[in-house]
Symmetry: C2
Subunit: 208 residues, 2 copies
């Protein structure tokens, strides 16, 4: 079975589009999927940007908004750009790491994306996150405490460092097990097809 890593930041609008459809697409392509949260803002900072390129370059930002409206409409997804964009996603990402370990990280991530880009809520707001965790049947106090241990903070930094070392510069990015990068929601199908074929070739090379 082919494998793919789905690198995403919960602040990334195009990661929302990818998150809402990648499970079905990966299942259809018979590719094993791993969700990999990382902090895109840290990578932007490293290349000299202190804000989203959608804010730094206004024409691009206006376009993104219109493009998201159209693509969401075509995909039947709700869309409402939050008042603050991009949002501070660091706490949400730390929770996502904890939740992925415990088996509810995909559900948490998708719900966070829906709140943020479907309903325009602020996932940088601790109250919003606590309520989200509660609605998923977990204890907000205990989850937040685990998310904010020094070890887990360090882990998000390490994951972000791994993303950067892989050559990731935007989100979403799909990485196959043979190290191919595919950037953007529009490249999901090509990435899954690559992952599927890479696996076929690996099988071909196995001795009977």
């Amino acid at each position: 079975m082919g494998k793919i890593d789905f690198w995403y930041d919960l602040a990334s609008s195009y990661s929302y589009l990818a998150a809402m459809r990648i499970e079905a697409a990966a299942a259809k392509a018979d590719v094993e999927l791993r969700w990999r949260p990382f902090l895109l803002g840290a990578i932007f900072k490293a290349q000299g940007w202190d804000d989203s390129p959608f804010n730094l370059f206004p024409a691009k930002g206006r376009y993104m908004l219109r493009d998201l409206e159209r693509v969401c409409a075509a995909a039947g997804l709700p869309f409402c750009l939050p008042a603050t964009f991009p949002q501070r996603s660091i706490t949400a990402l730390r929770i996502a790491l904890i939740a992925l370990d415990a088996g509810w990280g995909v559900e948490f991530s998708k719900r966070a994306f829906e709140l943020e880009f479907g309903e325009g809520r602020d996932i940088g707001d601790r109250i919003v996150l606590e309520r989200l965790v509660f609605d998923l049947g977990r204890s907000p106090e205990s989850v937040l405490a685990s998310a904010e241990t020094p070890q887990n903070k360090e882990r998000l930094k390490r994951e972000t460092g791994t993303a950067q070392a892989l050559g990731i510069f935007g989100a979403p990015t799909f990485v196959t097990s043979d190290g191919e990068l595919f950037w953007g929601n529009d490249r999901m199908e090509m990435a899954l097809e690559w992952a599927r074929r890479a696996q076929c070739h690996a099988s071909d090379n196995q001795m009977p």
Copy 2:
């Protein structure tokens, strides 16, 4: 019949991908196509970049190269990144304007893209352009002279100003007659579908 403007810069790698397939795609969608050359570098300069984002952000540049290799292979197009990227396209763009008026601008533009990104030749080199014009059965001296009149230089500036006023920030960009922008080779199908439907709606609104 729906209408679409195809805004491109002859220095733009993803415009090459679009140029090689847009005629067939527009014909299939029954959309009337207009080729609109412009100088993307002038728009980059206006937002503070003095080079291509693919050079300013090395991870993005490395990714672009690999992405183009894969997409060209999938589309059956030759690909060879020229030693200098991006190339100085200003003279080629001035020729494209003249050639479009005279009915051979699409052929000229496609051949320039093929030389540049299919064979790695330098379309910033006057000798390469003269040979290209000659191979298309035109007089290089006379075409170059027309391309470099003050009026034609001014026209390319005006076209670039129009692109910027439309909100264009990259190439290729497709613009429908109702003013919708679609950025990137990956948005061509959505743009053509929009153009086709915009026309249907326009017909619906006409009194019988």
